[in-house]
């Protein structure tokens, strides 16, 4: 979950620029982040729904405060709003420009703050059953290092004018044998991505069901991830976002039990 906040939302937020070549388009896509130019601090409200085959639907809701500090450290505070039994739980992360991330969790029912000494590398899903991997979350759409890209055309996809990018692995053994991205030509969001496994079979689809415009500009209303192999899907919806000053106190571990949010 913490990785979602740390980097995953780069997919959902941001201002995107025009670009011409595949590499330039991909670079622009990669450069987009949670904290776009001029946004030192930001608040957002999110909802996540996960549906696995044969399993009941599970819903989460979060409120997120994030701020970029002058030394380049990004600090994120996440409040669990739902489900009810974990509501009030706080998750705090300090992500320095370089070095290890530090994370804390405040459990209101037990009145405890615990630092999480995470593994240096995580594999698998960031939220069980979501089909969204830690790698997706931590890298966003950073495929330039591993994949060669080619602009294969311009087309209207789901009603949006898009560039169509074909990505192929530079070295063998990568998880995906082929990735196809559709990047919005005006806003430079990825509005759809298709991932093909080593056997060349379409395995996963990322899509943006809808675009909305708020005070900060146009953005995807949600990101939907479908795991075709498992028959599961997850949707991350942005309910609200705004730019504004977030107090320093929000990001101090010792303050967590005292915060009134």
């Amino acid at each position: 979950m913490k990785r979602l906040v740390l980097s995953g939302l780069l997919v959902l937020f941001g201002v995107w620029a025009f670009a011409q070549t595949a590499d330039e388009i991909l670079r622009r896509v990669e450069e987009q982040g949670f904290f776009g130019t001029g946004r030192e601090s930001l608040y957002a409200s999110l909802a996540v729904t996960i549906q696995e085959r044969g399993q009941p639907q599970v819903d989460y809701a979060f409120r997120v405060w994030a701020r970029e500090f002058p030394d380049g450290t990004v600090k994120v505070l996440l409040l669990y709003a739902a489900p009810e039994d974990v509501a009030g739980t706080l998750f705090l992360a300090h992500v320095p420009k370089e070095g290890a991330t530090r994370m804390w969790l405040y459990l209101p029912e037990l009145g405890l703050v615990k630092e999480l000494v995470g593994e240096t590398e995580r594999r698998g899903e960031f939220l069980a059953g979501s089909g969204i991997t830690y790698e997706d979350i931590s890298k966003g759409f950073s495929y330039r290092a591993d994949y060669a890209s080619e602009l294969s055309g311009e087309e209207v996809r789901d009603g949006h004018p898009t560039w169509r990018l074909e990505l192929s692995p530079k070295t063998p053994g990568l998880e995906w044998s082929r990735i196809v991205l559709w990047v919005h030509r005006e806003h430079a969001f990825v509005v759809r991505a298709e991932f093909y496994d080593r056997e060349g079979k379409l395995s996963r689809i990322l899509s943006v069901p809808e675009l909305v415009t708020d005070a900060l500009g146009t953005r995807p209303a949600a990101l939907r991830v479908e795991d075709l192999g498992k028959g599961s899907w997850a949707e991350v919806r942005i309910l609200e976002r705004e730019v504004g000053a977030v107090p320093d106190a929000y990001f101090e571990p010792t303050n967590l039990p005292k915060l009134q949010l």
Binding site: P56, V86, L110, L116, V117
Partner: protein, 793 residues
């Protein structure tokens, strides 16, 4: 009948060409036949046991496990650098299965996540961050592994003598024979690669299924030629003629192609039960050809012309062979009442195969005889010269014979109370087979080679986080772990307690369930955020249902029943109101419960088969008395069979429960042949002693040859790699001999006191049967009435 005999004798080439054409069509479908060893697929979809198993599989993922046990040599320890490095390397290779979607989870001491607290921080991660590189790493591993309740004696033996890796299959892979075989092949490769000085054993229910499939193939490839060779030998010794061998065998092989081709055509697969269908068909189906060839040879020996002999053979043999085939088919068809799909399929295709062999015996053999040169019939090795003496003995001392039989039978029946109903998967295999060896090691040292699932349903979202529910699950786990047949258990409870304990600074007072649901939820959240995962195998995503996994030893039906009863008693006593439902499932549960039902249904079908066979014989022989008397030798054989099983310590299980029904179906043939001949002889106004002598002279040899062929054919199963089939083989062989003795000893001894009218055809239906050519006219008037143009010899 006249048309039939004319068709066979006047158009033999057309008939043979047609049979050849049909055979080619069926042969084309032979390659389509596959093998099926998945229990759940053998069962009807609507069976509640299967429904429960499938529901559990859908909710909690795969229920089948491969287990790989690494055992160090005598005096060695896993806690040294080379052995531990080997365990890590092995685990890394096993994890590739997960990457390829062939395993849902791989749980090893090298990758299992444990919860640790470090100065106000919490870490959920593996025991070591990577493979050990120094003795210090080994010592750290040893300390942590032995401290950790979820690892010690569960994944790593406390004395350091071994470790085990569990590979859980994804539900999508379960039952896919080719995929499971590929996984087992991979494990065997790894076992070869990493064995020495440590030993590596493979076990788990998934391994059993693959081994069953593998052995089925090997058995089929090996046993079929052997049983054919046995039949050839018996036939040659009996007839001392090449055609005497080729014709009955040819019928069986063509019948086999038709039957197996039909299986391929209709998409049916061979199961552990139907694997021996070809063996049974060769043994059973050859009997019809034996009787037909025997009749023809006798007629030729008496100097009849070829065409006349062929036509007379058809007329003479169609009723007894039809009777034998229909009753045998009926015996097999009673298996259709079984709820187990493979048993039903075996019953259906065996019945079809038997009827095919009948039609081919009555059409193909005469057609071939019609075109082949008249054979030079040599006196058989197995002479029935003593038949008349034997008949005289039976005729003169029926009481003595019966008393002797009753004495022996009484002794045998005395064994019936010793008979035990049991079903143990290990008995499928021979003791020396690698799968049993692996099972023994895992059962004895690692607490169990099977996994049971106990599913707890709270009926509400997040109900599993209720401390009352968790405490109940905890008590149930401790209760199970105190049972001698249960090794270790695991559930969400263990994660909650372990995390809470660590969260509270490793204070033993907090190795417990937190007080509130919110506290439980937050402990679990912390566990997940710290790097752990509440896997699908432990709880549904909404925490409504939870699963306790219990490793159990291979206890068989009786042990499982006892365990289940105590669990039921415990749950009835301890279950809180917040648990609305619960059940036990898993591969062993599925197998055991099915075996129990199957055995019960087989015993019911035994009664059905007696009734069906008696009825069919009564209809075919037009006599209720005949229908009754043919059952007497079968009663002797079936009672004897159960008694012998009792004395021999052979359990009544999934395979042996079928024997009684098979005996009724197959063993009735001898009585039908005997009675048919005997009453014909009596109808020819021969007195009892002469009628007996005539019957022994004409049919006695064929009956003995038939029974010996079947007995030897079934004894071939002693060569099977399945222990269950070994027992099945010798027991069926024994019943073939006892039912033959029943027909040749008991029936004649009884018939001396029975008035002829009791077993002779019902007079009102005689004209119709004579008209159909199915019965011999007793006098010229009857012959005229029946318009039988070709009188019998």
């Amino acid at each position: 009948m006249r048309r039939l005999t004319r068709l066979v004798t006047e158009h033999p080439y057309w008939l043979l060409a047609a049979i050849g054409g049909v055979s080619l069509v069926f042969a084309a479908f032979l390659p389509r036949i596959g093998f099926q060893a998945d229990y759940s697929k053998m069962l009807p979809e609507d069976d509640p046991v299967v429904a429960q198993y499938r529901r559990t599989r859908d909710l909690f993922g795969g229920q089948s496990l491969f287990m790989l046990a690494l055992v160090v040599e005598e005096g060695g320890t896993l806690f040294d650098l080379p052995s531990l490095q080997k365990l890590y390397a092995l685990t890394a290779e096993l994890e590739r299965l997960k990457e390829e979607g062939l395993a849902e989870e791989v749980v090893s001491p090298a990758n299992v996540k444990i919860v640790e607290g470090r100065e106000g921080a919490l870490l959920v991660g593996p025991i070591l961050p990577g493979p050990p590189e120094s003795p210090a790493d080994v010592e750290l591993f040893r300390q942590k592994a032995l401290e950790e309740r979820m690892v010690r004696d569960n994944l790593v033996l406390a004395d350091g003598s071994g470790a085990i890796v569990l590979i859980r299959l994804p539900s999508a892979v379960e039952g896919q024979e080719d995929v499971e075989a590929r996984i087992l092949g991979y494990l065997e490769d790894l076992a070869r690669k990493y064995a020495g000085p440590e030993q590596i054993y493979i076990s788990g229910d998934a391994a059993f299924l693959v081994y069953v499939n593998r052995y089925m193939r090997q058995d089929l490839a090996f046993l079929l030629p052997v049983v054919v060779a046995v039949v050839v030998l018996v036939l040659f010794l009996s007839f001392r003629s090449v055609w005497g061998v080729v014709l009955p065998l040819g019928v069986v092989l063509v019948g086999l192609v038709w039957t197996m081709g039909l299986m391929g055509l209709t998409g049916h697969k061979l199961t552990m039960i139907s694997t021996f269908l070809p063996v049974v068909l060769v043994a059973v189906g050859s009997a019809y050809g034996i009787h037909v060839v025997n009749e023809y040879f006798q007629r030729i020996a008496r100097g009849e012309e070829r065409k006349e002999a062929v036509q007379a053979t058809i007329r003479e043999m169609v009723v007894p062979v039809l009777g034998a085939a229909v009753t045998t088919a009926a015996g097999f068809l009673t298996l259709l009442s079984s709820f187990l799909v493979p048993t039903r399929e075996f019953g259906l295709f065996s019945a079809l195969g038997v009827m095919t062999c009948f039609f081919l015996s009555i059409l193909m053999i005469p057609a071939l005889l019609a075109i082949l040169p008249v054979p030079r019939v040599r006196p058989p090795k197995l002479q029935m010269a003593s038949a008349e003496k034997f008949a005289q003995l039976l005729a003169s001392r029926p009481v003595g014979v019966l008393l002797g039989v009753l004495l022996v039978l009484g002794l045998l029946v005395g064994g019936i109370p010793r008979l035990q109903v049991e079903s143990d998967v290990t008995r499928f295999f021979r003791e020396e087979s690698p799968v049993v060896q692996g099972l023994r090691v895992v059962d004895e040292r690692f607490g169990g080679s099977q996994e049971l699932s106990i599913v707890i349903d709270t009926g509400r979202r997040d109900g599993l986080k209720d401390p009352e529910v968790l405490r109940f699950m905890d008590r149930l786990q401790r209760f199970l772990e105190n049972k001698p047949d249960v090794g270790s258990t695991f559930s969400l409870v263990d994660l909650v307690k372990e995390s809470y304990f660590t969260l509270r600074g490793d204070d033993p007072a907090f190795y417990t369930i937190p007080e509130t649901s919110r506290a439980v939820a937050q402990v679990l959240l912390l566990f997940e955020m710290g790097g752990g995962e509440v896997t699908r195998s432990l709880a549904t995503r909404d925490f409504r249902l939870g699963r306790i996994s219990a490793r159990v030893r291979s206890v068989g039906l009786s042990g499982y029943d006892a365990l289940l009863r105590t669990v039921e008693e415990f749950v009835a006593r301890e279950k809180p109101a917040s648990v609305v439902d619960w059940y036990v499932t898993g591969s062993p549960s599925l197998y055991i419960q099915l075996s129990k039902k199957l055995i019960a249904s087989q015993l019911v079908s035994l009664g059905t088969s007696f009734g069906a066979v008696g009825f069919i014989v009564a209809v075919l022989l037009l006599s209720l008395g005949a229908g009754f008397f043919v059952l007497i030798p079968l009663l002797v054989a079936v009672a004897g069979n159960f008694g012998i099983m009792g004395y021999a310590g052979a359990y009544l299980d999934i395979a042996t429960a079928m024997i009684a029904s098979l005996t009724v179906g197959i063993g009735v043939d001898y009585a039908v042949h005997f009675l048919n001949r005997y009453r014909n002889a009596r109808a020819s106004e021969l007195p009892h002693p002469q009628a007996l002598a005539e019957t022994f002279r004409t049919s006695g040899r064929a009956i003995v040859v038939n029974a010996l062929t079947l007995a030897l054919g079934f004894l071939v199963m002693l060569l099977s790699r399945f222990g269950a089939l070994n027992t099945f083989g010798w027991l069926v062989a024994t019943t073939m001999v006892t039912s033959m003795l029943g027909a040749l000893l008991v029936l004649p001894a009884i018939l001396v006191w029975v008035p002829e009218g009791v077993y002779q055809p019902w007079p009102a239906l005689r004209p119709l049967w004579i008209k159909l050519g199915l019965l011999e006219a007793a006098n010229p008037e009857e012959k005229k009435e029946g318009k039988d143009e070709t009188p019998r010899s």
